[in-house]
Assembly symmetry: C2
Homo-oligomer: 205 residues x 2
DNA sequence: GTCTATAAGCTGATAGAC
DNA sequence: GTCTATCAGCTTATAGAC
């Protein structure tokens, strides 16, 4: 990336610091002072990069949010239902692994949820859209609940500090397999349950 | 209950109000002023019932916590592994349904998690103990992750406002069936998946 | 870009009247 | 039991020097 300036580096370090503190203390339990101290600067320096705390919260969530939307767009373009399901699931798991604690915040922290609502004017309902991709538009109660348990469970368990020691590929494969199993998708050869490691292409129906 | 005084009523209304606000704003995002306003009293009145905010947080969590420990004790006294699993699972689901949003906070809100750590001096590790009941002492990675996804998913999805319209019995039966299915337990006759409603005894091996 | 200094307002918490 | 009044400290946020 040739466009990296010192300011952009500080900005991205600030967002990484904010994410870390948000997941440790919650958005409501994190002050700008805490972020500034952790970064080693003053509060005023933080305000140079972001006008408000809300703006920081929205900026923390934005990249993963945009990716999530892109993954769901992609999944909807798949032709078979099986491919749609696998694509949506692997896209979601991929984000959990890449952003770790952030997707867990999407599923539980009121501060992040409000920031998302603000930045999208409440237009999108991610949980509903993802659930539709996984179990169709009019699931019965048991199926809808299964999808909700799966989405929240993957995000929270995958983003938990307990799994911080796992490398991305291992975590990804295992979470994907748990999802497929809960959704009643057919078994793949060399699945994590038998092997502990496998390459994961999400294209196949 | 013959011991109910006006003070006890105010105290319990206060805890109910605190729980509601905690689940809407997070513990860190809830002030004593918000609790007092919602109750229709002043902050000073709140301080008559509890010395500190930490004390309120601990008191909100305490009843469900004690019940959870009791349910796990009970489950450990079951003789067959199958009965242990069903007992632990049904006990957990029962608490999710009865306390709704509170068990979700146990699984995600840093403020509640810290309150639990404080009131137990960090002696108990609930997630580890419950996981051991469900999948044994030395599960492989895939199995341990499955249990973690299940526990977090049940709590968050069950406590979500999206499920607030479901009556206790319906929610209980469906969450229990999802748990049994994820843990690979044999199918029961008249399960929620087929029937949408069934009586649930957790004793059978 | 980061700093010091400052502002208005909210926080958790206490003292004492009724 | 609940109130008013008050506290020191922290909060978000701004102005202006370097």
């Amino acid at each position: 990336m040739s466009g990296d300036t010192v300011a952009e580096d500080t900005r991205s370090r600030l967002l990484a610091t904010a994410l870390k503190l948000f997941s440790e203390h919650g958005v409501g339990g994190t002050s700008l002072q805490m972020i500034a101290d952790e970064l080693g600067v003053t509060k005023a320096a933080v305000y140079y990069h972001f006008k408000t705390k809300d703006e920081i919260t929205e900026a923390v969530a934005a990249p993963a949010l945009q990716e999530l939307i892109a993954r769901m767009d992609e999944a909807e373009r798949q032709r078979t239902r099986g491919a749609q399901i696998d694509h949506a699931l692997s896209g979601f798991v991929d984000l959990i692994v890449r952003y770790r604690s952030l997707i867990a915040l999407f599923n539980s922290d009121p501060g992040i949820i409000r920031a998302i609502d603000r930045s999208l004017n409440g237009v999108e309902n991610f949980a509903a859209r993802m659930r539709k991709l996984l179990v169709g538009p009019d699931p019965d109660l048991a199926t809808a609940l299964t999808a909700n348990v799966l989405l929240a469970g993957l995000a929270l368990a995958g983003g938990s500090p307990e799994q911080a020691h796992l490398d991305d590929e291992t975590l990804r494969v295992h979470l994907f397999d748990i999802g497929r199993r809960m959704l009643g998708r057919p078994k793949r050869r060399g699945s994590a349950r038998a092997e502990g490691s496998a390459s994961m292409g999400a294209q196949g129906a």
